[in-house]
């Protein structure tokens, strides 16, 4: 596998909007295959990679879920050769005008999201932000070409090329949550040649941005003893309140709240301290906004945990992460998988 930065750049340059993750899944599967004993695809399209443990059967399993789906848009109609769109995942319409996109029509068409001048917008929008339904996508084609080449329902991905700000910092779209896919991949690499007692399920889950359906059904199918969601969290930066954010490059966060099993949190905290991996407690007082929310209530219920990587400007095409934090998350997960033994579940007492 190439180095982490190249791998992550490839990951964010490959499409895979919620519900349509196949292109990026193929890429992840190719990266995971040499690192796991087997791979499989779930009914909702999630990728499962199994690294088999050496303990006696029936072996408990640890599930690491990083969602691979990205936010974007979907074509809803044509207007004089331009396209109307709706969102897939949560988009701030104020970020969209002027954004480069790829429209996945009969072939991939580069284009740009545009905001019509105010006199062409509905009067009630005057002086306010133009809502998404008033924006258009221009792919530069003549009207008759556009209607022929693009259909209602075609997907629209962000197309901003990755930006290397330094050896450690990468900016671009879809780093939420491909950064975590890279962290899980790094974890699998660190475990090469190491024997685990438990089974380890690496899962690149689908549809997190819309339904959490991928992680929910994968956790049901795999029935792990423990499930960890790896996701991005709010990086401290301009425009973001400091009390809800974490410094970029300053370490990972460990989630704390109703979606998290407190004893599992303690195990991660102690491990991070022992490994001298900088971490912060991230208060998640209600919905954690991650796959853990869904996985916790699978079947009879699962002990769940959230490990997060700080990221600036979430859900914009210029999200920014530190590779240091991605490596830290990967290392923490690998060492956690390695410490699991036949006594571990006993420690999860309330």
């Amino acid at each position: 596998m190439p180095d982490l930065q190249s791998f992550l750049k490839t990951l964010i340059s490959t499409s895979g909007l919620s519900g349509h993750e196949a292109p990026v899944r193929c890429l992840i599967e190719a990266a995971w295959q040499p690192l796991v004993d087997e791979t499989a695809i779930s009914r909702l399209g999630s990728l499962h990679g199994l690294k088999r443990g050496s303990g006696p059967e029936p072996r408990p399993g640890l599930l690491l879920a990083a969602h691979m789906d990205a936010i974007g848009m979907m074509v809803t109609g044509h207007s004089d050769g331009l396209l109307r769109v709706t969102e897939i995942g949560g988009l701030d319409p104020r970020v969209l005008p002027g954004q480069l996109v790829t429209v996945h029509g009969r072939q991939d068409f580069p284009g740009v999201v545009v905001q019509p001048p105010s006199h062409l917008l509905p009067p009630e929008v005057s002086g306010k932000t133009a809502p998404l339904e008033t924006l258009l996508v221009d792919i530069g084609l003549l009207p008759e070409q556009a209607t022929q080449e693009v259909q209602v329902g075609d997907l629209v991905s962000f197309a901003q090329p990755p930006i290397e700000l330094s050896d450690d910092l990468l900016a671009g779209h879809s780093l939420d949550n491909r950064a975590s896919v890279a962290a899980v991949t790094h974890c699998l690499e660190l475990l090469q040649g190491r024997s685990l007692q438990w089974d380890l399920w690496a899962v690149a889950s689908t549809q997190e941005e819309e339904t959490l359906g991928g992680a929910l059904t994968s956790a049901f199918a795999l029935r792990p003893a423990l499930a960890v969601a790896i996701d991005v969290t709010f990086g401290a930066g301009p425009g973001s309140p400091s009390h809800k954010t974490f410094p970029l490059g300053g370490g990972i966060t460990l989630g704390w709240g109703p979606n998290i099993h407190p004893a599992l949190f303690n195990a991660f905290k102690e491990l991070a301290e022992r490994l001298e991996i900088p971490y912060k407690l991230e208060a998640m007082p209600h919905h954690s906004g991650t796959d853990a929310y869904a996985m916790q209530v699978v079947a009879e219920g699962l002990p769940t945990m959230v490990v997060s990587i700080p990221l600036r400007y979430m859900h914009t095409p210029v999200e920014m992460v530190s590779l240091k934090d991605i490596r830290r998350a990967g290392r923490l997960l690998a060492e956690f998988a390695a410490l699991l033994d036949d006594k571990f579940m006993e420690k999860l007492a309330w």
């Binding site: 580069p110 917008l121 530069g140 084609l141 900016a171 301009p238 809800k244």
Partner: protein, 377 residues
């Protein structure tokens, strides 16, 4: 398009792959008003082998004189079939930003240079300074934004250029920045930043390289158009031409209007339309075009079967606004390639419109004679 047999004007050079490659280089170069060096370097490289006299003036304009063939026209007369001294202006500068405050940790406050809407800056990558240091203009995550805030416009004061923590030393107060968009072909269209006015610059370079022989071509690659037509003003003084054309790129606001239950309102303020050919100016907020030149452009287009459109009279302005009031007054007009989404990260224009704009200006220059000015304005 048929060659103009009757008037026996030379065939114009084609806008082909070489010109497109030149346009791509020009669009990807960063040249915010007052800091046009990167485009100036390309211009000098391209024109020096082809022009007699090339100077860079006090403001940074590139002034190129290319003498035509045929009889010289006496300075104080407009009679006879002799060479006219014709100024063509295309501005090298583009809108952008300047870093104004270093807040530490790679975060910079900035101001805009030229007409830029703050709403167009959010979530864009930028290049800073001569080294094209990458940075981004971020936005608060939607998750941390209230429903009410989502409808409020984002202000320039709330935006920052971010080169990343630890990278603060790579950028400095006073550095210029502009969008990092790279040139792309979209079927019949072109997508780039700074099409306004790299179209004009690329056209004018091509004219210097292969000029119509009947005129003295005075090519001004101007600076600071976007901040007050400053370069063109002094360039016109230096050249002291008998007639002037500004080659520019003008907004095509030809988007479909919002449809209501009562139906569709007509888009009456389109300015120009993509695909309808070169835009001939009659009036904008800085210039009342010389009607003889407007007529000349229209007649040339009709004689040669070149599509054209009359730009809707109204706002906006070009270098002609400064040129026509220089010295004793200079008959002037502007001719533009229509472009959508100018002054944003990514403009879109049609290649055919550029080809036709170039053909029209070339033929109009070839047919230009002092007789045109025998009539009173």
């Amino acid at each position: 398009m048929m060659p103009d047999q009757e008037l026996d004007t030379p065939a114009p050079p084609e806008i082909g792959e070489a010109q497109l490659a030149l346009l791509e280089r020009l669009c990807n170069a960063c040249a915010v008003s007052g800091d046009e060096g990167e485009v100036r370097k390309i211009v000098l490289e391209e024109v020096r082998p082809h022009a007699g006299q090339v100077t860079v003036d006090a403001l940074g304009n590139v002034l190129v004189s290319k003498t035509g063939q045929g009889e010289m026209i006496p300075r104080k007369s407009t009679a006879g079939q002799a060479r006219l001294r014709v100024m063509l202006a295309a501005h090298m500068d583009e809108v952008g930003f300047m870093l104004t405050d270093d807040e530490g940790e790679g975060i910079f406050r900035f101001d805009t240079v030229g007409g830029l809407d703050a709403a167009q800056l959010v979530g864009k990558p930028v290049y800073i300074g001569k080294e094209h240091v990458p940075g981004v203009i971020g936005a608060r995550p939607i998750h941390l934004t209230t429903r009410d805030e989502l409808t409020q416009k984002i202000t320039l004061e709330s935006l920052r250029i971010d080169v990343g923590p630890g990278n603060g030393g790579k950028a400095h107060i006073g550095d210029r920045a502009t969008f990092a968009t790279q040139f792309a072909r979209l079927g019949p269209s072109l997508l780039a930043k700074a099409l306004d006015d790299r179209f004009g610059v690329a056209s004018l370079i091509t004219l210097v390289q292969q000029p119509p022989p009947n005129i003295d071509l005075l090519a001004a690659f101007t600076v600071q158009e976007e901040v007050g037509l400053r370069g063109a003003r002094v360039a016109a003084y230096s050249f002291d031409p008998q007639v002037a054309f500004a080659l520019d790129c003008t907004p095509a606001n030809d988007l479909p209007p919002w449809e209501t239950d009562e139906g569709r309102i007509e888009n009456t303020r389109y300015n120009t339309r993509l695909g309808a050919g070169p835009a001939i100016y009659l009036a904008d907020s800085s210039t009342l075009s010389d009607p003889r030149l407007a007529r000349h452009l229209v007649q040339t287009a009709e004689a040669l079967g070149i599509p054209y459109q009359l730009r809707q009279p109204g706002g906006g302005g070009t270098d002609a606004g400064a040129i026509h009031k220089q010295r004793l007054g200079i008959p002037s007009i502007s001719l533009s390639v229509p472009g959508r989404y100018l002054h944003t990260a990514a403009g879109i224009a049609r290649l055919d419109d550029w080809k036709n704009t170039f053909a029209l200006i070339y033929h109009a220059l070839s047919r230009l004679s002092p007789d045109l000015f025998a009539l009173e304005r």
